[in-house]
Symmetry: C2
Subunit: 476 residues, 2 copies
């Protein structure tokens, strides 16, 4: 990201003018392009808003950009005041396509955290850097000599990685599978994407938990799916609700995150899990089990997966290294009947031709290393400690203004706010005070919740973050 | 991939029976699953067909599988002869979705090359292993200590990699851009996918070259696009044809591979390139420039890119490391107006949350290393030599039965067969003789061509491969 150089003799506003002029000259900002608002650009560049105002004024004076009330500042269509209209109407293109943009709240959060490293981030569903296995990864790269084939890989993913995962799943989770039933994906996200794109058709009805992470994914709407909700209670969904949704809407698939559900933290009991499977078997509808958190269990007792109980080939199981090692590895896996794996890997070839062998090789070495289990143990302890810090701060500052049930795993505390609030206002007030979280409406239909993550902030930031959040709550 | 163990005391057919029983028991092959044909499974496992026949007979005898003429062998719906129907009808799911499967020829080629390493591969568009920069990559991993943030990356991709590419593009191709106008993608493939998914809508008309690589991508049909063709002549497309297609079909985008076009090897002259841009400016339609081969120019004189001539922000430029370094790195880039980059990176977050940082870091180090330019020089020489071997063999064995124009870059020779042939028959005859190529019909509408790639076979395989191909041609 370009930033003005504060030590240069040229005034900041002039540097901004020249930067934008360059963008226009090299067609990075073709005629008609929308420039960021003054507030937003100032935020991005880390300068005063008045500096941006001055830069935009100079650009307007030269005729390069135009401002109109309502539609903001744009690069002039008649560039340099002479040339006729020669550029595709990019706006028309970028507003087309079957792909819906991300939710405004998620975009806002990304924007703020992208340009301001000092903000306390209780919105992100990722681990803090000190919890990543950086030391192990550097050691692997340094010491274990990479000598893999650098060509297009097997469409299902790097075979040794699939084998390592087959072993891990058996060992840790009593989940029996084989490398032919596994597809390596770019995190859970790509598994979900492939399923929604390749196994379902526009107009199909599916059931998802409410609230749920899935609900936050415009991917489901982009695929044209009709979404029906399974309310999540203190002990998770009620399996019988699946029957009702099937009767009323002929749902064709059920998406569940049974262990340390995001965002509520609930875990389905084994009794409920078996009932879910029995119902799905009766109705003959597949269950997608998104299971990124089970290894985070604070006590080290990994909850049962639906897949390990599945004897009929009903469950599509999704795992990921994102929440237990590092999200930047982009390594996830899908365990499914072989015909499903074949179909999805064939489609994935068309999207991106598979994952980088270097990332997959690193993941395989990581899983195979003796240090990995130790890493998981330490991770559990750190997460538990950070959760404790958050619970203490919440109890201390917010007492009976919120309520929550602390989960014994996962990365989040799901808080109910005990008075009516305006999600958007609360978020902006929090941002002003240097903290972000995810408004509950992102995940579901019931108003008045927030998701506070303890995984990303540093321990010493947690109490400060909660205080700032409490103040924001006061104001909204 | 599981294979029977030839040194074990248990007979091979029995091992296959038990392997399939395990698959059924653990629901990897749920009831109703289709098993591979006897021929195909024998090919995959590297055993005689009779061994598979015996295994299937035993499975049928136990009631676990059923065979019917026409629909092949399947896992019984009434598993173990007792349990009722409990499994989703996976066939219905895998045949649904908006995603079309890969072309049958491409699937057949993949299948054959996947299980038979001895086949001479003149079908693959990738380099042979000895041309990959394995030595440099191992050195980088070993010596340059990895210490990057392992969290979710910037949606546009790893900043230092974008910066390195901005420098390279300027240096090598006189293409001026900036890191804010660039998106790192999983090869060219993902750039194309993002463009077809996010900037175009079902029903939109687009123009592509005929023949072209693009034509081989079911991705275009999956996105619901209507495809219109620009015939490729000895000197590439005729720019005026764009006007005709616009008038007749209101095409909304043009896809071109102007340098060492795949499969024909043609390069557009600068005069034609300028005319293409002038026409696109007039009609206000974007050009997608897919440019993976320009660095392979045998003489080291890199052809002009459309993007470097583009002053109006018309061109979406796509590059890749696949054809000049290694396809298994899965690193490509898109250079585009910022609003387009924003839109595509937002959508990509929903598909896969971006690329692995480890792969991107390695690519950045590779581009920055002093050895990279030397690698490219050696690559050019090797490709030229291999092409020469192929041309000699073709002239020697096939003389006037085929005709071709050898390109001075790229990876392929596009051959016209001087008599009527049946694509499918020719391919099967070639496979029987241990060689694969891509039938021309995969790339376009004009019959009677084949694409022979010299990049993947080893030098000593080329003459043998061409002889085998000549024999196959004799028989079809
Ligand atoms: C329940 C759940 N599934 C999937 C994901 C996607 O993660 P990744 O693609 O990094 O594995 C997340 C991330 O927040 C998640 O919480
Ligand atoms: C013209 C062209 N574009 C794109 C690709 C896709 O390659 P990658 O995604 O590996 O960059 C290929 C590969 O054959 C190609 O020939």
């Amino acid at each position: 990201m370009w930033k003005p150089d504060r030590s240069a003799p040229m005034p900041l506003y002039r540097q901004i003018v020249e930067h934008i002029e360059r963008g226009i000259t090299y067609a990075q900002l073709p005629p008609g392009s929308v420039l960021p608002s003054e507030r937003k650009l100032a935020e991005q560049l880390g300068v005063n808003r008045s500096t941006v105002v001055q830069a935009y004024e100079e650009l307007r004076a030269s005729g390069l950009v135009e401002s109109t009330v309502g539609s903001g500042t744009r690069v002039s269509l008649t560039k340099w005041g002479v040339s006729p209209l020669h550029t595709p109407n990019w706006r028309l293109y970028t507003e087309g396509g079957t792909f819906l943009p991300n939710l405004p709240f998620m975009r806002r959060i990304r924007e703020v955290t992208r340009y301001d490293a000092s903000i306390i981030n209780m919105a992100s569903g990722e681990l803090s850097s000190d919890l990543f296995p950086n030391r192990i990864v550097s050691r692997i790269l340094r010491e274990e000599s990479f000598d893999e084939h650098l060509g297009y890989d097997d469409p299902q993913g790097y075979l040794p990685l699939r084998q390592a995962l087959v072993n891990k799943l058996l060992q840790d989770q009593n989940l029996i599978t084989s490398e032919t039933s596994m597809l390596i994906t770019s995190g859970s996200q790509q598994s979900l994407y492939l399923i929604t794109q390749c196994l379902l058709s526009p107009g199909d009805a599916v059931a998802i938990e409410d609230p749920s992470y899935t609900y936050s994914l415009p991917m489901f709407q982009s695929a044209g799916l009709r979404i029906f909700r399974l309310p999540v209670h203190a002990d998770g969904i009620d399996p019988e609700d699946i029957i009702t949704l099937y009767k009323n809407h002929r749902i064709r698939m059920v998406f569940l995150n049974p262990n340390y559900q995001n965002p509520t933290g609930t875990t389905l009991s084994d009794v409920k899990k078996k009932r879910v499977l029995a119902i799905a078997a009766d109705l003959r509808i597949p269950i997608v089990e998104d299971d990124p958190f089970s290894l985070t269990d604070f006590r080290g007792s990994i909850p049962t997966s639906l897949k390990s109980l599945d004897k009929d080939g009903i469950v599509l199981y999704i795992g990921s290294l994102s929440k237990t090692a590092a999200s930047g590895l982009r390594i996830g896996w899908l365990v499914a009947p072989q015909s499903v794996v074949d179909r999805l890997s064939d489609a994935r070839q068309q999207m991106d031709f598979g994952l980088s062998i270097i990332a997959q090789w690193t993941a395989e070495r990581l899983l195979a290393s003796e240090e990995f289990d130790k890493h998981i143990k330490e991770l559990r302890q750190s997460l538990q400690q950070k959760q404790l810090l958050m619970l203490e701060a919440l109890t201390h500052t917010l007492q009976d203004r919120i309520s929550f049930v602390p989960p014994v795993g996962g990365l989040n505390v799901w808080c109910k706010i005990n008075h009516a609030i305006d999600d958007g206002k609360l978020l902006e007030e929090a941002i002003k005070r240097g903290v972000v979280f995810v408004p509950g409406s992102v995940y579901g239909s019931e108003p008045g919740h927030v998701r506070l993550s303890y995984a990303k902030p540093r321990p010493e930031e947690i109490a400060i973050g909660i205080s700032a959040f409490a103040e924001a709550l006061e104001r909204s």
